[in-house]
Symmetry: C2
Subunit: 342 residues, 2 copies
């Protein structure tokens, strides 16, 4: 059942359970602090394929296969798969999932895609449209660079505010069968445009969207930030995270000690030369479906607000003088597990 609360929050009662998850990462991500939490690390940038786009597709295939395996389910048990990515016409999703024979609903939320697909799949299960549904997203450093910025061969200088697109993917299988971690609430976001148009400063473009969705959620529900162990954004990076905390303080909410960002967690910024941090759908996808779900399953975390943010733009739009429009979708991840003795 879905209960609408406030303007835009959906409360799922009973909650929708996470039956399985899969996370994949590339070489650089596999050298970072979360390496031990990924289900697979590929040291070959091409994953044995001919092109980076095909490699990214394979990340989605592998993430979904792993999630299905952990859930003990077959593709035929899944009624719908919600998938998206950053590439033109979402081709990583198309080609990565084409052979699975699952009804396919392509989603476009830029880097907010992990939260969007999780939220959509959860709404479909809670609303009675599916017994089980899957969510998946990916990004790849090499395919993203050549599409959004410059060909890698050009060797362009990166600005201090730029972020490093994560090579990785994340997938979850959601369903009605009980499991340790569940999705209890979803808030889908509105678009935000504060006039940022620098494709090398995505964090600044997206932070206002996270502020809007987080305040929408707190206004819709009786929750305060202290109800959560973690308020986790997707890929605001260093610049966007600072902005988010400042803007939330101005809005009357102190989240300083509760906030972290997948883009700040996935790399060691002191050693790995990623400038303002990680980005891309695969950043929050791999961190949430790897590290965060493990912490919830282990009872280390109990309530996490996961807000992925996306920059809705294309190089063509920016060349035509448009701004970068931000969006953020939120899911509340919950676990009742007692902390496990180590």
């Amino acid at each position: 059942m879905i209960q609408r609360t406030g303007n835009s929050t959906l409360q799922l009662d009973p909650p929708v359970y996470i039956l399985g998850s899969g996370s994949c990462a590339g070489k650089k991500e596999g050298e970072g602090p979360l390496a031990s939490y990924f289900d697979a690390i590929y040291s070959d940038t091409l994953l044995g394929m001919d092109t980076w786009e095909q490699a990214e597709s394979r990340l989605q295939t592998e993430a979904v296969k792993t999630a299905l395996h952990k859930a003990g389910l077959q593709p035929s048990d899944i009624q719908y798969i919600f998938a998206g990515d950053l590439l033109n016409q979402c081709i990583s999703s198309t080609y990565g999932l084409r052979d699975m024979n699952i009804p396919f609903l392509g989603q476009y939320g830029a880097c907010s895609t992990m939260a969007q697909t999780m939220g959509m799949a959860a709404a479909f299960v809670a609303g009675g449209a599916a017994e089980n549904a899957a969510a998946v997203t990916s990004s790849h450093f090499c395919s993203a660079e050549r599409q959004f910025r410059f060909p890698l061969e050009y060797g362009g200088q990166r600005t201090p505010t730029s972020q490093w697109t994560t090579t990785g993917a994340g997938s979850v299988i959601l369903g009605k069968r009980s499991a340790p971690v569940s999705i209890t609430e979803v808030t889908f976001g509105r678009m935000t445009d504060l006039g940022v148009n620098d494709a090398n400063n995505m964090g600044a473009a997206m932070a206002p969207a996270a502020v809007r969705t987080l305040t929408d959620y707190l206004t819709d529900t009786d929750h305060v930030p202290a109800d959560f162990d973690l308020i986790l954004t997707g890929d605001l990076g260093y610049v966007g995270s600072r902005l988010l905390r400042q803007m939330m303080r101005k809005a009357g909410w102190d989240i300083e000690t509760l906030h972290n960002d997948c883009g700040l967690m996935i790399y060691d910024r002191k050693k790995q030369d990623v400038h303002a941090g990680g980005s891309g759908c695969g950043c929050s996808g791999s961190v949430v479906c790897g590290y965060i779900l493990r912490q919830l399953e282990a009872g280390v975390l109990h309530d996490v607000l996961f807000l992925a943010t996306g920059a809705l733009m294309s190089p063509t739009a920016l060349q035509q003088g448009e701004n970068i429009v931000g969006i953020s979708h939120l899911v509340h991840l919950h676990s009742d597990e007692p902390p496990k003795e180590s």
Copy 2:
């Protein structure tokens, strides 16, 4: 309430009602046989904007505004808007809808987007996630040509199987309040790849997807083609429509006299030099939200199966040797209106 039927069909009971609709078209479409059914026809290709992409965005803005006006609703009455288009990163949707302040869920289904967004919005209303939800899509001949094929200035020769991307948009507002036309069933499709890789023969790439979804629907339910006044595909055009009818006959269903295609209806193929017919999200968007809904409201049609088909591909994927993957989503449009005296 949503009742799952068979493998992949959703029955909506009570149904979800179409409270308002809007359709826009360009000059060529405004010279075709359905001209009198569009809410607005723009003879200026740029719609007063600076670029074709901005013009396409404006088509979405106008279609949604018209649909809201006819529904007697404000943007604040709409909980979610489902939107998508053909351009890289779905920018027509982003920039066309950014100022509406409605929670935004970007969809990517290529030319199947009108059926996908209608189906998603219907599932959200029926499942309890929204009181009212909107669906919208668009395409523009000039923005599509330069992105998928050649710059217009190049003046390339068009092949006989090529289709003409419609300049147009369609939008519906769905809700629980009773209205003459409703959505009673939805079937979301699986991807289909039969090896077609000619970007100038989209009809052939997409027809097998329509066959799959239509046979899925007929298998899931007790319906036979004769239960419908019209089985309407989105933009298979002449080549794809012939293939669909042939393949359905092979599968044991004769739909010859019941089938029509928005791409064959929107232009006069004898006079308007569109080769195999119209295509693009805006083709089925403008035809369904213009002509078809008027026929249902007038009691001329009572049961229409609308299947939009999409070609999930990008120029990059085709350059890398990939096939065009097809998909088709279906919505059952129903009206109880008695035929009106003219």
